[in-house]
Subunit: 199 residues, 2 copies
């Protein structure tokens, strides 16, 4: 029986919805935007900034951020905003994993919890056509083409993951299970992940 | 229902055994060394050379090979031995896929059959420790360390795959399902693959 399931996913693959359904199926807690909110409260960061920083490339200094925000607690001037957020986030994810059975989406949780034996790491990917169609349905048409939006979003996730973990985002060996949601369908993905977690 | 299942696998991961069990479970034909044998008969190549060429880096010219072998049929002097073998092998795999339900291990079958909608592509990987332990149990101790043997074998597979397909061997997006056999166990891997194929 796996207590913790981390779900990493390509933008548009439906991995987030799959993760939520897995949590419901197993009766596990589900962390995603709730986690972001929790981090926000602890750090005093603007929640919208944190939502971005979880996926976007690091770089902006904490000082430059603090000057334009309502205040940052406990950070030193040597730490960039994203490094400080990373430290806080890692601590929170570690604590949540201790608390009880849960599904955690994104946030490099697979890496943060890499030493736990009771952790199942999942990656959800999909064909480009499937993802392009899905993001237009979900988020509407934008100036940028769907393909451009997909590429930008996943590149940012990959850069962020590499920066903090030293690993390649989406590389097969980082996950115990990788599934193509466009080929298998969401329902079967949920079933397989839940089945593995129950073993 | 998927008619064809291709299984690619890291050396030592047990992917071949898993593939065989999936074929038994589903009542599908299973191709691996039999396929090699069939290629051998058609080309007049020495079967042991072909077994290697399926996984090893290309390069040796067909002329240099022909001079030391019992004869090659139908090849032109512009084709390397491995290119000629590739052409023959691709044709045979395409024909086998037409023939009926089957599981095909290795041989770039996932790429060769990429235009078929009824094809499920699987990748089996495992932790280094699991694979090292397994190859020593199966093939015994050698001069080279288990880690060295693992690395050499998979590097050759990757170079061969890249040469013929232009793709990265083991990259998540090339497969519909990737499973860590050391984490999940062979039995569960077989169950999951069979379950997906039946959908």
């Amino acid at each position: 029986m796996k207590k913790i399931i981390t779900v990493s996913r390509q933008f548009g693959s439906g991995g987030r919805s799959i993760a939520k359904l897995v949590a419901e199926e197993l009766g596990y807690d589900y962390y995603d935007s709730e986690l972001v909110q929790k981090v926000a409260e602890e750090t005093g960061f603007d929640p919208s900034y944190i939502a971005d920083a979880g996926e976007y490339a690091p770089g902006r200094s904490i000082l430059s951020y603090a000057l334009g925000s309502s205040g940052v607690h406990g950070a030193t001037s040597h730490m960039s905003a994203s490094d400080y957020l990373w430290t806080t986030q890692s601590r929170i994810i570690t604590e949540l994993a201790e608390k009880g059975n849960c599904v955690i989406v994104g946030r490099c949780a697979d890496f943060i919890l890499r030493d736990r034996e009771d952790c199942l790491n999942v990656f959800i990917h999909a064909s480009r056509d499937y993802k392009a169609k899905r993001i237009v349905e979900l988020y509407g048409v934008r100036d940028k083409s769907p393909n451009k939006r997909l590429e930008e979003k996943d590149t940012k996730r990959a850069v962020n993951y590499k920066y903090f973990t030293g690993r390649e985002w989406g590389a097969t060996e980082n996950y115990h299970v990788s599934l193509d949601s466009s080929k298998l369908g969401s329902e079967l993905c949920v079933k397989i992940i839940a089945e593995i977690a129950k073993k």
